[in-house]
């Protein structure tokens, strides 16, 4: 450990079947910015496709050095899904300049890395790239959607003995990435810090529902009916915030945003298989008027009873504001009694 601390940790970042959005999100990191965060963590960026200097030959010789074990690989980050098609050949992504499928490079390098980190839901589980008919046969590093049948498979362990660290999200919040990397670099990420899907519990032990600014509407089941309405989006608009593992409404994005604050439903983008909900993203499927997906850990009978009770008691203010795009009825204020 002390030996390691003298030396900066080498981080290699690769991108495959994804959009690069987790990197672009990472560049929005603040207080500190991402470069300062890496420096603070004692992490040396061996190479990152968006910000490093090395191209072509320079990069290929770096890959050779790492492959040969001449340059230690402490952290391997993959952004984007592993692309296995067509027909298991990996030809849908050949790493430029190398003549080899990216899939092969990932497998080779993962075996050499002290920590393997999937950045984003594509690298973790397949994500959007695995949507629809999954034309590129995309999967995650360790998972294929919810099963541990991804490229590296169930038994994979990085040299640190940890499984793949799945910083899931579409995209990832910048600080999910910086904080996890800092945790790794300081030797304080253990298996107990990951949840059952390999996600860092630092953010995955929270629900998007926590801190949702629409909580009062939720409590009274005062529901939004169309885009831009202010009400709770669980009943009609497909919102999965009560089930989604993430701290989006307590940590906030780009200063003070979140999906809910932006006026649209949570689509549970940190979960395996979120890309195929089995219905339109913007509509809540119901049976006899009751949403199929109930809030996490909530007994159904209790939810139904509570919902009908709170619906009966919904104040006029919430009823009207829920289906409006701005506050029509202000909260009342009681005049203070003079003593």
């Amino acid at each position: 450990m002390t030996e390691q601390r003298k030396r900066k940790l080498n981080l290699l970042w690769l991108q495959s079947g994804g959009c690069g959005g987790c990197t672009l999100s990472l560049l929005c990191a603040e207080s500190p910015d991402v470069l300062t965060a890496l420096e603070a963590a004692g992490i040396h960026l061996l190479w990152h496709p968006s910000i490093s200097e090395a191209s072509g030959d320079e990069f290929r010789s770096l890959l050779e050095q790492v492959s040969a074990g001449d340059t230690p690989l402490d952290i391997l980050c993959l952004e984007g899904a592993v692309v296995r098609g067509p027909g298991g050949s990996g030809r849908f992504h050949m790493l430029a300049g190398t003549g080899l499928p990216m899939m092969d490079w990932i497998e080779r390098l993962a075996g050499l890395a002290e920590y393997v980190v999937a950045v984003g839901s594509c690298a973790a589980y397949g994500g959007i790239t695995a949507g629809g008919s999954n034309p590129s046969d995309a999967c995650g590093l360790q998972y294929d959607r919810g099963e541990k049948t991804g490229l590296l498979g169930e038994t994979f362990r990085a040299r640190s003995a940890l499984p793949v660290v799945n910083i899931a999200g579409c995209p990832t919040h910048p600080n999910w990435v910086t904080e996890t990397l800092m945790q790794i670099a300081s030797g304080r990420l253990a298996e107990v810090d990951l949840d059952t899907l390999g996600r860092p519990r630092s953010y995955a032990d929270h629900l998007v529902h926590h801190g949702c600014p629409r909580n009062e509407f939720y409590e009274f089941k005062a529901s939004a009916e169309k885009p831009s309405d202010l009400g709770c989006m669980m009943e009609y608009m497909g919102c999965l915030g009560t089930q989604a593992h993430a701290d989006c409404n307590t940590r906030l994005w780009n200063g003070e945003g979140s999906c809910l604050r932006g006026g649209y439903a949570c689509i549970n983008c940190t979960a395996p298989g979120f890309e195929e909900p089995g219905h339109s993203f913007s509509v809540t499927p119901t049976i006899a008027g009751i949403p199929i997906g109930l809030p996490t850990d909530m007994p159904k009978a209790w939810f139904v009873a509570l919902a009908s009770l709170s619906k009966a008691a919904t104040p006029k203010r919430l009823k009207e504001n829920a289906v409006s795009d701005h506050i029509r009825v202000s909260p009342g204020s009681r005049p203070r009694k003079r003593s």
Binding site: S25, C28, P49, G56, D57, P227, S228, G262, I267, S280
Partner: protein, 483 residues
């Protein structure tokens, strides 16, 4: 003559490989390879059309909002739906926020670090440039990242987050604006203007925008030492390395136009060629598959009838990218095309003198930042707190729709066919699909392939640095290119 495979090219969005024939210390011929296929057009087949708003922004993390805007426009077209004024203003602000942040990312993080390469170590300007622009460790990145992140708080306010927002909808935006947001937006824009004026330009945006000829631009630059601002530094490098002679393309420039403003657009639509502006007829767009790894390649098709069936063994194929052509012609898209089509006087003058090239593409991007910030300040003032931001209408059972907008790096189009309430066909042509397209059935190379021919090599080079300047001058987005 020797053939070289060059790649991967980083500091572009996504993966990229280029094959070069090199002889007489120059590039004699070039083939551009987009090595990643994901298949969004196949993923979208059979979906509820509204779900395009979830899938299409995820084509690309750097053009995410542009993809949302194109998808929303295509859906709105199919619905016959228009946005309320507030919705249109908010979408303009969100799109402009992304486009300008992308220009900034391109200049500081993707493009300028190439001048800090060792190959230039003997140049007199090298020590200063390397200290400021070296990848990862240069001083400029430490200044630009916080400025960019602060500017993107506008996304937090108007779009919830970036990238991959669902705030943009066919009928407007989901986030209504109150007066406090309007105030915050004007504050954010003020802070961003200050960064631009002090660090990027070293002068007011208005003074920059008043320069309307190459002569005036160079007279302006001559007033300052190169370290006065990053733009001054770039002009010095452009002169020293003759960047106006690098990367000349076919010089047919296309823009779909962008930022609806009243009855028109802030930047107009059209095609600029040989000093003349012509109208743009989207019906004349075709995608040629003759050199793509695609099946069903007979006859180039209009995107409404486009087919995407990958075939890694396709004869003569060398890329996953299709080859879009406008009435059979190769066109260049991007900030330079947008500004020249719109009639921006300085860029028309520069292009009139030296055509499309590395220098002019970069100047266009920077001047566009100045123009758009001024427009954003106006849009922010025009927002009407309390007024609606979104209109609503059901998705039709049978319809077609087309959405055409401009991403930072050029013209982006979505073409949609709805049958029985589901997506029957969804075709996307992204900016870099135009710029980095392969050869077509006539053997005519794409815009970058043309621009690389004649590129000089420095003595002893294996990976020519000029090739890096040229291809990055297009600000390619490879994940959009093939999608």
């Amino acid at each position: 003559m020797s053939r070289r495979v060059v790649g991967p090219f980083n500091r572009v969005e996504g993966d990229l490989e280029v094959h070069l024939d090199i002889g007489d210390d120059r590039v004699q011929d070039a083939w551009v390879v987009s090595p990643l296929y994901r298949g969004f057009e196949q993923i979208l087949h059979g979906k509820d059309p509204r779900d395009a708003m979830v899938y299409t922004p995820r084509i690309c993390g750097i053009c995410s909002v542009s993809q949302s805007v194109a998808a929303a426009m295509a859906l709105a077209d199919s619905q016959g739906l228009a946005m309320p004024v507030n919705g249109e203003l908010a979408v303009n602000l969100i799109l402009a926020n992304e486009n300008l942040a992308d220009h900034l990312t391109h200049f500081y993080l993707f493009f300028m670090p190439d001048f800090a390469r060792e190959v230039y170590a003997d140049e007199p300007w090298y020590p200063d440039v390397a200290a400021r622009f070296r990848a990862v460790s240069g001083a400029a990145a430490r200044e630009v990242l916080p400025a960019r992140a602060g500017f993107m708080h506008l996304m937090g306010l108007l779009a919830g987050k970036w990238p991959h927002s669902l705030a943009i909808q066919p009928g407007g935006t989901t986030r209504s604006i109150e007066v406090q947001e309007q105030m915050r937006i004007s504050g954010i824009l003020f802070a961003f203007r200050r960064f631009l004026e002090s660090t990027l330009f070293g002068d007011t945006l208005e003074n920059l925008l008043a320069l309307d000829s190459a002569g005036q631009l160079y007279a302006w630059a001559a007033r300052f030492p190169p370290q006065h601002s990053d733009f001054c530094r770039f002009l010095q490098l452009a002169d020293a390395l003759r960047l106006d002679e690098l990367g000349q393309g076919g010089d047919t420039f296309m823009s779909y136009g962008v930022y609806p403003d009243g009855d028109g657009q802030l930047f107009g639509r059209g095609v600029w060629q040989a000093g003349r502006l012509a109208g743009l007829d989207p019906a004349l767009i075709r995608e040629d598959l003759s050199h793509s790894w695609m099946a069903q390649r007979r006859n180039p098709r209009h995107p409404y009838d486009g087919v995407t069936v990958p075939d890694a063994e396709a004869r003569d194929g060398y890329t996953w990218c299709k080859a879009p052509r406008l009435d059979g012609r190769v066109v260049e898209v991007g900030a330079l095309a947008r500004q020249v089509v719109d009639g921006q006087p300085l860029l028309r003058d520069l292009v009139g003198r030296s055509g499309g090239n590395v220098r002019n593409r970069v100047i266009a991007r920077l001047l566009e930042i100045a123009r758009v910030v001024v427009a954003m300040e106006g849009w922010a003032r025009e927002l009407k707190p309390g007024q609606p931001c979104c209109n609503h209408s059901p998705i039709p059972q049978e319809a077609t729709g087309c959405g055409m907008t401009e991403a930072a790096r050029g013209s982006l189009g979505h073409w949609l066919k709805i049958r029985k309430g589901r997506i029957l066909n969804y075709q996307i042509i992204a900016p870099t699909t135009w710029n980095f397209s392969p050869r077509d059935a006539n053997g005519t190379p794409g815009a970058l392939e043309q621009a690389l021919v004649g590129t000089p090599l420095r003595p002893g080079e294996t990976d020519p640095v000029a090739v890096q300047h040229i291809l990055r001058s297009f600000d390619p987005c490879m994940v959009c290119t093939v999608h």
